[in-house]
Symmetry: C2
Subunit: 142 residues, 2 copies
Amino acid sequence: MTKKSIPSPRTKRPPEPDPACGQAEHAQVPLRVVVDPEALKRASEIFRALGDPARLRILTLLMAGPRCVTELATDLNDNLPAVSQRLKLLKSERIVSNRRQGKHIYYALLDEHIAQLVMTGLSHAVEDIPGIRRPTAKSLPD
Amino acid sequence: MTKKSIPSPRTKRPPEPDPACGQAEHAQVPLRVVVDPEALKRASEIFRALGDPARLRILTLLMAGPRCVTELATDLNDNLPAVSQRLKLLKSERIVSNRRQGKHIYYALLDEHIAQLVMTGLSHAVEDIPGIRRPTAKSLPD
DNA sequence: CACACACTTAATAGATTGATTGAATGAGCA
DNA sequence: TGCTCATTCAATCAATCTATTAAGTGTGTG
């Protein structure tokens, strides 16, 4: 039963620190932004989960409301198992939730957080596209 | 010279669509959230780049201001080449920028976007941690 | 009760990723 | 100019991830 999900980065970190620059070339600011390691890990997990076009697309679909797997697969023009697995992964990462409704199983975004995060990422992404066609105003289709 | 960086999802997508549920079991809402594919791709790239604890940590350090590679490596307690490669990746994803200052090369977050995205992710992550000690007060179940 | 539908699970194989070591580049300095 | 420091480059290798096909589970229905 190989649970797990997105955790493990190739892993193997803490060697011995190098002597580094030396004395005090750069102002010795402690700085120490030190985000709680747990938060850091969780955040990276979430980011990683969003870091795949297929998964992200699923999430954008889900932003419009709950949908069942078949529906998603149809919209994405993809296999059922594939979509199912992605949903499973997203669920294990606590990004979506599923609920059985009669014959179907509806998936939905778990939080408002997620929706907001996705939107934030997308909107920032739009502004960062190399060769952009930026609809100046608000992409208001007819 | 295998450039590239984070793009390629395992690749191989568009098979033939399954007949799907059938007639009209679920209201046939077109819905069409259709985020520009480019934006979708870019967003997923960014997310993926943030989706690693080590890289994310680097970014949190950079949120406090530019730092050189050695400094980062020292703070992260990690090898120079490792840090350098991560920075290279982050740079290729247009997430950080580097600038030579005398003997050192200082890296910094490229955008305010990135900083905001990181912060958003982190703050949301904090709220989603299973066993949390939540500083703020919101749904404070006791 | 048996069939069909909706979805999940299993297992394999391909591909990508990232760590690691050692060498190379480039700038400052004696 | 030669040397040292700071950083990058290159290539290998292990580990992980995802796609894919086929079989399994469970629910509703005739």
